[in-house]
Amino acid sequence: MRETVYVLGGGQTRFGELWEASLADLIREAVDRAIENTEILPTDIDAVVIGNMLGGETAGQAHLGTLVSGCLPHHPPALRVEAACASGGLAVHTACALLESDKAETILVVGAEKLTDVPGETVTSALMHAADAEKDSPSGLTFPGIFALTATAYMHAYGISRENLSLVSACSHRAAVSNPFAQFRRELPPEAVSKSPLVADPLRLLDCSPISDGAAAIILSTKRESPVRIAASQLASERLSLSDRPSLTSFGSTRSAFDRALAEASWQRNDIDCIELHDCFSTATLIHLEDLGYCEEGEAIRLYCQKDTDSNGSLPVNPSGGLKACGHPIGATGVKQILDCYKQLTGQAPNQVRNAIRALAHNVGGVGATCVVHLLESIA
């Protein structure tokens, strides 16, 4: 990175079915908390970037940049970015680019989503906007269905058993017990995952991250310092439709973004102490870990069998609880991941990884069509 981008801190709402809050309410709450926690003045903020996917479809609200900007007394310049489920990560990436190019010195980055104001079928249809409208939607595919196609191929290639696959969601729930912002804070026995109803074969309900409301906000600055800096910020794209991919069991966007991020930071992958991973579906989690290069193809399940992915394990994955247990308000997730990494690196995480100095945030849009990777480092 050309400039040192410091993460000053941030705040978030709880994630979940938040009936009493509108999209604007969620944004305001997250922004308030972020400003409180970082002790900056609202007027210190030069620009606002917000990541959100379905504001138009679920809240009748586009033009979100100015909505957030209006929360601040001086209404700074603002913009909204969108990359499906990677909207939050993309917002952070965009903010880094603005900071590095000197367009701003202190930026408020927000991620927000409000999904429960509209009927379930509307959300189901809207989620397909993350896929290819002309190639994927006409056959009646749903978003879990698209990931299920990768899951079928993955399980066919590597013979993962149902029992073992259930360990993935169980691990996330175990981690979230201590997280006050998580949607689900109870442990989940693997048997419950194996028995949950099928959504799109072979994926079951508890293999899938939930529908959630929520918002998160962080403040990045090149002017003000903090013990945490962003060591790398990389964005990669793949072809939108699964039918155009070379592989059904690997996402090139993750490989590309992570390789470039490691190069940018001059790190090795084993330097990383904890990972906030985009666990939208349990089989996707396995694919991501393999694409990030932490294990051979078909072997990621071993990490879960051996409990290496627990916060006290050799490769802590989603110590916050990830998308599965924290919830997945689409645009908020990428920003919340940075916030959770910040907490780990400043020793403030409820499920603390010991001696966490370097962290990875991995945010994906669509079926691996977009990937945003951030590497964070504690420089205390």
Binding site: W19, E20, S22, A24, D25, R28, V31, D32, I35, E36, P42, T58, G60, G70, C71, L72, P73, D117, V118, P119, E121, T122, T124, S125, M128, A133, E134, K135, S137, P138, S139, G140, L141, T142, G145, L149, T150, A151, T152, A153, M155, H156, A157, Y158, G159, E163, P197, L198, V199, A200, D201, L203, S241, L242, S243, D244, L248, C305, Q306, K307
Partner: protein
């Protein structure tokens, strides 16, 4: 410090019938028209299935019944995502399909949407089993590679094979990858008494523990038209033989490479040591068992259909694959 604009009290109705349009975008007439013209350009080509899923909760307009969507590669190399027809042979990765024009859904305004669905005309080039099928049993001494071979087979045949879970009184280990289901001594005994568990024995790890297979599990796998696989030992094999009938078991005994018994044991010793999972004492004990296992191949010839040497994994798996494909056994 708080942001300046006051929080507005929510006045909007929380009714779920709030205005927004739940219809898919392709419901708009120009988009529908373009799609019809696209179909006109499409060549009707057969293809094969690369992957599939069953959508349990269809989106608006697609009806109530679940349907299967597949990623299909047509013979000209192009790919398409499309529903499979309900008629047709069972779907599987590699199955061959042909296109049919069908009514995919109807729009709220009364227009019907027609699109291509694919019918499976030839299921994948993998074994088709009859209902009263058989069980593939792999037996062999510790260290010969049963687990590795089983995993390889499961991944080769994942849509038509499944491992039979082992009910056991042993506590599950961190290194367990196989499907063990731990129950109490009492429960195990009850299951044996009621005939739920049809083959059981006492095994030894650090301590003695019981292990067995449930009839229901094997039948459930048969019902799905899949091949049950067991990685087992001599006594369990005998038990299964008695319970299901010897002819129901395709029994493969696995041998370590080596021209003499001594050489074979030496290979096993080397493999067990390199796993690093056991103490020397445990390995010694396992080797004794291994010796007995190898002896069993001579003593219990009738329990084995084939003896295969596991020298190279791929070769051994290929041999087993040949044994289970239709020309090998009906």
């Amino acid at each position: 410090m708080r942001c300046s604009s006051p929080r507005v009290h929510r006045v909007t109705s929380r009714s779920p019938t709030l205005t927004l349009n739940p219809r898919p975008f392709v419901d708009h007439i120009p988009a529908l028209h373009r799609r019809t013209k696209e179909l006109e350009k499409e060549r009707l080509l057969p293809g094969k299935i690369l992957s599939f899923t069953t959508i349990r909760h269809p989106p608006n307009g697609f009806g109530q019944e679940p349907y299967t969507v597949a990623l299909i590669e047509r013979i000209d190399g192009s790919r398409v995502l499309a529903q499979l027809t309900r008629e047709g042979k069972p779907h599987a990765i590699g199955a061959e399909v042909i296109p049919h024009l069908r009514r995919i859904r109807s729009m709220q305004n009364g227009l019907h949407v027609n699109d291509l669905k694919y019918e499976v005309v030839k299921t994948a080039d993998i074994p088709l089993f009859t209902v009263h099928a058989y069980v593939l049993a792999l037996t062999g001494p510790c260290g010969v590679g049963k687990t590795t071979i089983t995993r390889s087979l499961l991944s080769l045949f994942s849509s038509v094979a499944a491992q039979v879970p082992v009910y056991t009184t042993r506590k599950s280990k961190r290194t367990d990858i196989d499907p063990y289901i731990t129950v109490t001594e009492e429960k195990f005994e009850t299951m044996v008494k009621h005939g739920e568990i049809i083959a059981h024995t006492v095994l030894r790890d650090r301590d003695d523990y019981r292990a067995g297979y449930r009839k229901e599990d094997i039948q459930a796998i048969w019902k799905q038209a899949k091949l049950p696989i067991v990685t087992t030992d001599l006594r369990l094999l005998e038990g299964l033989s008695k319970a299901l009938g010897r002819e129901t078991i395709l029994s493969c005994g696995l041998l370590p490479p080596g021209t003499s018994r001594r050489r074979m044991l030496s290979t096993l010793l080397h493999r067990l040591r390199s796993r690093g999972q056991h103490t020397e004492k445990q390995i010694e004990a396992q080797l004794k068992v291994a010796e007995a296992d190898l002896q069993a191949y001579s003593d219990h010839k009738h329990l084995f259909d084939h003896l295969l040497v596991n020298d190279q994994l791929e070769t051994c798996v290929e041999s087993i694959k040949e044994l289970v494909t239709p020309n090998g056994r009906v």
